[in-house]
């Protein structure tokens, strides 16, 4: 520890700290533009010049380490003179267009110019003008306003893992740009808007819609992934104007994924459902709540009366709040059915009874940046949970080695030390060989139930390389992603992952969708009640609800055709049902098959709680009242329960519901017999589908957020073959194909993609053009 003095204040600071950090900790503000606590030090704006005793010239506080006995003066005449000089230079080329600049009112340059600028400029010459760049649908540029702090450039290099922005040219001619006009392709790009201290980079969707002083800040939590990112929802006159990150070092630090930042655009879009709808003789009619609720009650009661409670099923998205999920399962179970699920894309439920209390990381989010070795199984963590991808990148920059077993060669923001990119069917074998190789290296004798691991064949070079990565380092992690949980043999992948994790003494993490952890804890599952309570009887999991046995459906913020494993089957089941009641934020696909559609409030319009992958409960309040006739989900479910005669749902606030849920004792799953590994049948050499849900198709809100839909991350519907395969099949990119899986056929363009392994064809899921197809299985293709 060192003793220093800033403005006469005696401070004890850590060695190695910069003057600006020491001042910040003592509550002394030093003006700055290029310095940012999460970025490397550039010291190029010179705004933080301060006087230091016995140093001839003022020094930049951001790049000057503290020394014993140092005396710093942030308010002296010499300091003020230096800072005023710098400000004069910064303003030489900066346009005076504050009245038409979106940054006005929250501009660091504007604020500091008030304190340090002159009232009149001495600069007589012409100002510099820089052509704007089109860097995509999310960020607007006004490069003439740029003061060359290079925060955006450093963000790209250090945080985003991209290097598309740079500073080209020299002196007067220097400019920030992409040189060749490449769209900035990062799932975290919106953070550059927050970092830009001036109005050079601003939000495109928010452009010219509000001034910061008109906005009211409402703390909230993002529903889109299992990180539970903290948000500031900024509101004006009951409308969400924009969303910014709320700093929380343990979860999202100061960052926000683009999905969380821009999805709000959908909330006030034209597709919002404004009033309850009922279908009368095939025609949709807007009605008041009373009539709609009567119709919903009659329809559900009638179908249950005719076919029995087991013919009633509820499907929910993973974006439901814990409170909504809890009431929904109480309603369904109160009606005598256990057919409730939120895992619409999953197929393999054989290991449901041995599942943990909820799928989660098994460690804190912060721990991820401290791992030395990690294995990803079926995960595109960069795009699915962008801020967890960022934590792994931090670990990688500190020397961690990361390996992956994936059906597509995803480009990550970290380098993979080893990888096996194989078809989905081969993933189980590959993982088994890695498990065997790991056990052998760690000198662990295979337990009896895993002896069969040796029957899948000796580990190859790639599998040994992965095992070598996993056996190195001290802190390790195994992570199962969405492509593992939706795998047809997910039980094997989970069993093997748990075994590998046990051998290398690492937590075995799962990365659920959205509020998936909350859905498990709330009991939105066929086999478990709230807080892990086991059920005497198990209901049908989602994948089994579409066989025609279910005559009545209650859909909560979910679109089964787009959101389930096999869109065509889901559509037929919905069409064949006697009664479908949809609780829906938007006028979506429910209009094709439902009988009653009730306007459901999104997370910005309801009180509620999300549980992130760490198991952290985060409650939030409604940012705005529900739009038009929409109502918070827990209120809709309470009224439905009352009308259907189900007890226990008449709670009068989201907080009361949460309290009721939390008063239930957590039941940790009972120990079960060890899991036995049975070697999978050798995968037949057929053309196999690889399906991924892009981050901008993942739920009902983001798929309607138009700016996100125009980014490069939204895949084009096509059948993507490895380039060599495409040539071998004699297909030209762009030619139309008939793609058949089982009895489902769609038409798609052929395309080349070198991320696809041989023997597979990648067809993006959850797009209107591809949703009819099942997520996995054999594909046949033919010419049109």
């Amino acid at each position: 520890m060192l003793h220093i003095e800033i403005d006469g204040k005696k401070l004890v600071v850590e060695e190695g700290a910069m003057v600006i950090e020491a001042a910040e900790a003592a509550g002394i503000y030093i003006p700055r533009f290029c310095y940012h606590k999460k970025l490397s030090v550039a010291a190029n704006c010179r705004m933080c010049l301060v006087e230091v005793e016995r140093v001839a010239k003022p020094v930049p506080a951001c790049a000057t380490p503290v020394t014993e006995g140092m005396r710093v003066f942030t308010q002296s005449a010499k300091t003020a003179d230096a800072q005023k000089g710098v400000m004069e230079f910064l303003l030489i080329n900066h346009p005076l267009d504050c009245p038409v600049c979106d940054q006005g009112g929250e501009c660091e340059l504007q604020d500091l110019a008030v304190g340090y600028g002159r009232d009149v400029s001495r600069f007589q010459e012409a100002k510099r003008i820089v052509a704007d760049k089109d860097i995509g649908p999310l960020i607007s540029t006004e490069m003439t306003r740029c003061i060359h702090c290079t925060r955006c450039v450093r963000f790209g290099q250090e945080i985003g893992g991209i290097m598309e922005l740079g500073a080209t040219g020299r002196g007067e001619h220097m400019r920030i740009g992409t040189y060749v006009e490449a769209g900035v392709d990062s799932e975290l790009s919106g953070n550059m808007i927050d970092l830009c201290p001036v109005g050079a980079l601003t939000s495109k969707p928010y452009r010219y819609t509000a001034r910061p002083w008109e906005l009211i800040n409402k703390p909230s939590v993002s529903p889109h992934d299992c990180v539970g990112t903290n948000l500031d929802v900024q509101v004006r006159r009951n409308k969400v104007m924009r969303i910014l990150p709320r700093e929380n070092e343990a979860i999202n630090e100061v960052w926000l994924a683009d999905r969380d930042r821009f999805s709000y655009v959908a909330l006030h879009g034209g597709e919002r459902l404004k009033a309850p709808l009922v279908r009368d003789g095939g025609v949709w009619r807007e009605v008041d709540w009373e009539i709609a609720l009567d119709r919903a009650t009659e329809g559900l009661r009638g179908a249950i009366g005719r076919h029995g409670p087991a013919a009633f099923a509820a499907l929910a998205s993973a974006q439901l709040t814990v409170e909504e999920g809890f009431l929904l399962q109480r309603l369904v179970r109160g009606l005598g059915s256990d057919n409730i699920d939120h895992r619409l894309r999953e197929l393999d439920f054989r290991d449901d009874t041995r599942a943990p209390l909820f799928p989660g990381l098994g460690q804190a989010i912060q721990d991820l940046e401290r791992v030395d070795a990690a294995l990803l199984i079926g995960s595109n963590v960069r795009k699915e949970q962008p801020l967890l991808g960022h934590r792994l990148r931090k670990a990688f920059l500190e020397g961690a080695r990361i390996a992956a077993i994936n059906p597509l060669d995803f480009p990550f923001v970290f380098d993979l030390a080893a990888k096996a990119i194989v078809t989905p069917a081969a993933m189980v074998e590959t993982t088994a060989r890695v498990a065997w190789a790991v056990a052998r290296r760690m000198r662990i004798e295979l337990p009896a139930e895993l002896r069969a691991l040796t029957d899948v064949g000796a580990p190859g070079t790639a599998e040994e390389a992965i095992a070598e990565v996993l056996c190195g380092g001290r802190r390790r992690a195994v992570l199962l992603g969405a492509l593992a949980s939706t795998h047809p043999q997910a039980a094997e992948l989970r069993g093997l992952a748990r075994f590998i994790a046990q051998v290398i003494q690492a937590p075995c993490g799962e990365l659920p969708c959205g509020n998936g952890a909350g859905a498990w804890l709330a009991g939105v599952l066929p086999h478990r009640g709230p807080m892990g309570r086991s059920r005497a009887t198990s209901g049908r999991p989602a994948a089994e609800m579409f066989d025609g046995s279910q005559k009545a459906f209650l859909l909560a913020d979910v679109e089964p055709v787009l959101d389930s494993r096999h869109g065509e089957r889901a559509r037929k089941a919905m069409e064949a049902a006697d009664c479908v009641v949809a609780l829906s934020i938007f006028r979506g696909e429910a209009l094709d098959y439902a009988d009653v559609v009730l306007p459901w409030a999104p997370y910005t319009e309801t009180d509620g709680t999300f549980v992130n992958a760490e198991g952290r409960f985060q409650s939030f309040r409604a940012a705005i009242p529900p739009v038009a006739e929409a109502r918070p989900g827990w209120k809709i479910l309470r009224v439905l329960a009352e009308r259907l005669g189900v007890d226990g749902c008449s709670l009068d606030s989201a907080a009361a519901i949460l309290q009721e849920l939390r008063s239930i004792q957590r039941t940790e799953p009972a120990p079960v017999a060890p899991w036995t590994f049975v070697p999978p049948a050798r995968p037949a050499s057929v053309l196999e589908r690889v399906a991924t849900v892009s981050l901008y198709d993942s739920d009902t809100i983001v798929r309607r957020a138009e700016p996100l839909q125009r980014t490069a991350d939204r895949p084009r519907p096509a059948a993507y073959f490895p380039p060599a395969d495409l040539a071998e099949r004699g297909l030209a990119p762009g030619s139309m194909l008939v793609v058949t899986m089982g009895t489902t056929t769609v038409r798609l363009e052929a395309a080349a993609d070198d991320r696809v392994p041989a023997g597979a064809v990648f067809i993006p899921a959850a797009l209107p053009e591809t949703a009819a197809l099942p997520l996995s299985g054999e594909v046949t293709v033919g010419a049109v």
């Binding site: 290097m163 040219g169 020299r170 992409t178 060749v180």
Partner: protein, 156 residues
Amino acid sequence: MLSEESRAKIDQEIAKYPPEHKQSAVMAALHIAQDEHGWLSVSLMDYVAGLLDMRPIQVYEVASFYTMYDLKPVGRHKISLCTNISCLLRGSDDIASHLKKRLGIGFGETTPDGRFTLKEVECLAACGGAPMFMIDKTYYENLTPGRVDEILDKLE
């Protein structure tokens, strides 16, 4: 993209630095690439980026900073006129206007016959002989309009 000879020269440059600092060879590599092609196209810079494990933008940053790199095709002879402080004080403005008038082009332009390209460059470290210019790789110092004419007349 580059001849084997150029590749070998670049490899020699790379060998001067520790393997993890391959990118230190970027300036030399760009000179070698420019010597072969006459100028640095985007695809040539991307190629150099690939050789040195750099992102293309990092190479563009270097190439656009130094005036000795040409990002557009140049004529048979490149006149690099220094207009920095010493040359400015010794009359580089007159040399510039004489050159522009004689050649009928401005800075950064090439004569229609492809004979000369005129560039304004930063200090070439010959302040003692200011004003000066460099044609291709030869320095000419203590310039006057008359001397400029003499020099240019001798060039094809």
